[in-house]
């Protein structure tokens, strides 16, 4: 199980898990609606105070983009790592 099934299982499951992670990452923005001080909430506060709504919401978009890029880098590195035994073929 640990040495034979799991390594093969991870190889197949990882892309799906990566997609799920991305979707969840984007859905976290919804918690701002019920009052949790996440990126979007703080952005909204800053936009209201400074009246520079466009700049701040663009910044929020950029932050989410960076998060998405970073996690996609991590996931592709993980995928390469799980497939390292296949490269030789």
């Amino acid at each position: 199980m640990r040495l034979i099934i799991l390594p093969q299982l991870v190889r197949i499951a990882l892309p799906g898990l990566g997609n799920l992670w991305m979707a969840l990452l984007k859905d976290t923005a919804l918690v701002s609606v019920i009052g949790l001080p996440d990126i979007l909430r703080q952005t909204g506060v800053a936009a209201r105070v400074t009246k520079h709504a466009f700049e701040f919401f663009s910044l929020a978009c950029l932050l989410f983009l960076i998060l998405a890029m970073a996690s996609s880098l991590v996931f592709s590195a993980l995928e390469r790592w799980t497939k390292r035994s296949e490269v030789a073929r």
């Binding site: 923005a29 609606v33 979007l40 709504a53 466009f54 978009c61």
Partner: protein, 276 residues
Amino acid sequence: MSHRETMLPALPAPPEALRRFTASRLIGNIALGIWLAASVGIFLFVVESWSVEKLTKYGPSFISGLGVTLTLVSISVVLGGILSLPLAYARMTKNKALSWIAYIYVYFFRGTPLITQLFLVYYGFGSFRPYLEAVGLWTLFRDAWFCALLTFTLNTAAYQAEILRGAIQSVPRGQHEGAAALGLPKRIAFFKIILPQAMIVALRPYGNEIILMIKGSAIVAIVTVFDLMGETRRAFSRTYDFQMYLWAAVLYLIMVEILRNLWAWIEDRLTRHLKR
């Protein structure tokens, strides 16, 4: 070498192995019990707090909210579908600059949350009020419904472009080569051979995308559009009755379920030549 002259007598079935009560089985049973208790609790709650008066008072507004949700989603999906055609083309073209622009567009809309894009359009474009007024577009951007429509259209266009591109590229090379060998012009080969096969592949993701849009459209309630979620929030703020959200959940569930069955039927019909 010997062989048997008579048939072997039938042996009795082996005794049934005793299923052991393992730890994982215990945990599974407990989890199932919790789920069962929760669903029974919700059901009892709905039965207990059911009132015809609330239904007659807020039912019509729920229906109108449902209409707003459906119009918003259907218009944006259709417009997004139209917009996705040039995007998918740009994404697949050999022109480096064009494909990069399309890639950045798709990456932006798929990499950021829909709610952030909505806020960017609804609150962000308010910063450009003088310019927008000068062009005469301010009346559009002041309207939350239009902002939601614009955001959804741009967002779903990005997703649909990727669906379309993936489907077209999933058609095997041999189909292109076969069409070329028959002397078919590129354009006819694309529309008569490649696209029909690609559309069968794309059907399922398209259905998923529409379902995602229906569910995602609930966030327009935050920018003061009274769609199904908006009406629910309004009804809840007047009654403080939690079952309003349950009604909304059931309505969303019905919408998605109808769409899912419709899609299963369409796929069944379109792929009947592939079945044996």
